[in-house]
């Protein structure tokens, strides 16, 4: 009898298992494929590894502007994949070490619920007082004829590419699609992005999304917005443009990045009466499902498909199951997109504030107000946008475009989380010279 069995070894599951283990609980973690989950193996970490290489490659081309002359750089795709594999292996090993040190028993296999407190892995049944479902998600497969053809990649298989493609068509202009668009554009592929919605980076602040579109278009990425992909035939992608006109383009590869689907199937959820839909398992802000003793976190809940959201949700669930009051405050959950330049955001968007009827004040300053940003970026385009409540002056949202914003968005998250007012935030000292000074300027501009 375990205190907790965690199903799924991604950033939601393994962090929760370690947390419970450190609390002295008897914990088992069941993982069917990869310790570290999507994030470590085919998500955040591999993507950032690729993007690091593509950035360096681009920078070699731009080096002359910084007074550095280099020869013609070559993008060695197999070496990049090899480096990625090495980093993933190192990190996976690290997670295994952490699990071991926290006393978590790792069971490899596919887990199914057979009762409220019983899990079956193969022929073996395990009982636990609490179950935490952290089975994650997988790339969605939209009903586009030909989407599973041999030249179509998804966000798993893209990491095994062995050479730089000449051209790639990316279906989906969300966070994942945009990151890959930047990667392929930087390594020399011609990139076209097809997005069903009129904006890219759905969910981002409208002004930020529009600016990002301009920046990426200027980089050379071609966008087809409000466009519907009709079918894929070999290298040919047929689509209907915004005005309804049909067209087609040729691409060496087609990348499907239309989103992710919660892994709710084949888990025995029906058997124990868990309230779920294809969109995910319903949970409270404490991570509770409708069945007592069964908890869920991460992508499988369909709430916010971000690794750090999963981690926080898992830890909150563990805290609550063992009597520590805790709740996820989704309003202060930061998000980062590793496009070049990066996007980082936390809190409410202007559209959300309008929809909620919240009165607000806003400011928007160019990143270039921070000297360091200009130093780092010869053609630096980027902005920081701050939204404050008009009544109390508290910082409600911070949205940024610009490299290094991913590293200072946590400061903005603290402000949002603690409802810090702009005048008080102005009393914080931002180190000079750093890119974060742009945030300071944006906050000061509110007052």
């Amino acid at each position: 009898m375990y205190d907790l069995i965690v199903i799924g070894g991604g950033p939601g599951g393994y962090e929760a298992a370690i947390h419970a283990g450190k609390m002295g609980k008897k914990v088992a973690l069941v993982e069917k494929q990869w310790i570290g989950g999507t994030c470590l193996n085919v998500g955040c970490i591999p993507a950032k590894t690729f993007l690091r290489s593509s950035r360096l490659f681009r920078e070699c081309g731009e080096a002359a502007a910084y007074g550095v002359r280099v020869g013609t750089p070559v993008f060695d795709m197999p070496a990049v994949v090899e480096r990625k594999n090495h980093i993933v292996a190192t990190l996976t090993k690290g997670v295994q070490g952490l699990l071991k040190r926290a006393g978590v028993e790792v069971i490899i296999g596919h887990a199914r619920l057979v009762a409220r407190n019983t899990v079956e892995v193969g022929d073996v049944r395990y009982e636990a007082a609490n179950l935490l479902l952290a089975t994650g998600s997988r790339p969605a497969v939209p009903p586009i004829p030909g989407i599973q053809s041999e030249f179509t990649l998804d966000s798993n298989s893209v990491f095994e590419l062995q050479q730089v493609p000449k051209s790639i068509a990316i279906v989906g202009g969300g966070y994942i699609g945009l990151e890959f668009a930047c990667f392929f554009q930087e390594i020399g592929a011609s990139v076209q992005v097809f997005e069903m919605l009129p904006d890219i980076a759905a969910g981002a602040d409208g002004e930020i999304s529009a600016r990002m579109l301009r920046i990426l278009t200027k980089k050379g990425i071609e966008f087809h917005l409000s466009a519907k992909v009709l079918r894929i035939e070999g290298h040919t992608l047929h689509f209907a443009a915004q005005d309804g006109a049909q067209g087609s383009i040729e691409a060496e590869y087609i990348l499907n990045s239309t989103g992710r689907r919660a892994n709710v199937e084949d888990l025995g959820l029906e058997k124990v009466g868990i309230d779920f839909s294809p969109k995910g398992i319903k949970t409270s802000e404490q991570g509770k499902t409708n069945v007592p003793g069964i908890w869920a976190c991460g992508d499988v809940t369909g709430r916010r498909m971000l690794a750090h959201a999963a981690t926080r949700e898992g830890i909150v669930a563990v805290n609550n199951m063992f009597g520590v009051k805790d709740a996820v405050r989704y309003n202060a959950l930061p998000a980062v997109v590793y496009t070049h330049p990066e996007m980082a955001m936390v809190g409410r968007t202007e559209e959300e504030l309008k929809a909620a009827g919240t009165k607000y004040k806003k400011s928007l300053v160019p990143m270039a107000v921070a000297g360091r940003y200009l130093v780092e970026h010869e053609d630096g385009t980027g902005v920081v946008k701050v939204l404050c409540g008009a009544e109390f002056g508290e910082i409600l949202g911070v949205h940024a475009i610009g490299d290094a914003s991913s590293e200072f968005i946590i400061a903005a998250a603290m402000m949002v989380e603690t409802e810090m007012s702009a005048p008080h935030a102005s009393q914080l000292v931002f180190p000079h010279p750093t890119v974060s000074e742009a945030l300071r300027e944006a906050i000061a501009a509110i007052n």
Binding site: F392, T418, E419, S421
Partner: protein, 430 residues
Amino acid sequence: MAVAVEIPKLGNTVEECLISRWLKEEGQTVAAGEPVVEIETDKTSFEVEAPIDGTLLARFFNKGELVPVFTKLFVIGNPGESVEEFRPQAEGAHAGSEAARPEEPSAQDKHPEPVGRAGANASATSSSAAWSPRARRFAEEHNFNPQAVAGTGPCGRVLENDMRALYHSSARVSDAAGQGVRNGAFAPREGSGIGGMVLAADLAAPESRISGVREKIARRLRESLAGTAQYTLNTSADARGLLLLRARIKASSSAPEININDLMTFCTVQALLEAPHLNVLFVDGTIRQGRGVHIGFACDTPRGLLVPVVHDAQALSAAALAARIKELSAKAVEGTIPADDLSGGTFTISNLGGLGIESFTPVLNPPQVAILGVNAIQLKAVRKSGMVEFIDSIGLSLTLDHQVIDGAPGARFLKVLREKIESVEQICTI
């Protein structure tokens, strides 16, 4: 030669200091430069030294007292010298002083802070008036304004350390929530933010004060229920005559504007003339029979319930009564009704029929002994020569004060009223 030492001005904004500690007793000898008393302002604390060698002849203030700057604090001299010439004037002369003498308990009762911050439930209570300047300063700087702080200073005075201890043991209040609290909202002890931080969403709306009218209504109704023996009789009357008459009035272009409520009021006046035992006031154990029928009617206004009174309603025709009711109602709704028209009633009618109420318990308007509730007109099945007939019927709910009116006399009044309603076409000439 005795020397008096006063509180120096410690800064442009400092107007008063708190005596935090006496370091020397009266009668003790002190050397020049030796500290005699420790005082504190909202910014700092420091020691006031003896300017000369001598004996501490007098201390004019006790520990914990607030003293304006430039006030003489103590006198040093030779034993036997008079100190009276130095003694500061009486309390009243302390212009600018907050007069927060700790021995006055009233300081703690005055100015109760309306805001409740997290962690405000300390065992002792205090108002900000009993906070030391440094404690107040700390509270301001930390956006912290607790309702009650247990003070450890003299007479419960709250010192900076008390404030600091409470601050560090309380859940924090976010900037936004703090602003809300200053606007009158109430903070719970613990909020939903990090470590129980109170966020704006955790605030309860400020309490809204009821209007003067509502307060009066509340008091009167409470007194009514507390001071009488109320009970309610329910019955109904055949309303076909009422409806026919109303239809006739509506159809006629020359007829005055009279509605069902007016007709019911008219019938009630007629019934009270015939059964005057309900048209009385019960005051201090005596029954006062009214000379006229002064009918009050409950009127729903934007400011709450008002009861305008039609004086000497027995003298009015149905049309005149209707006109008077209309006039008084309009004034009540506008808020321009004179006080005289809101008093002096001997009987009250409350009509909720228009809102579909089928039966209710009107609450007496003492010293009146009866109030009639008029209900909706409904179809009622009646047996008539072996057949069942459906007739329009109006509900009547009569609340009486059992101290004065027993059930049977109450029922007899209702019987008379029913007869009046059922013969309304005859008694009411349009």
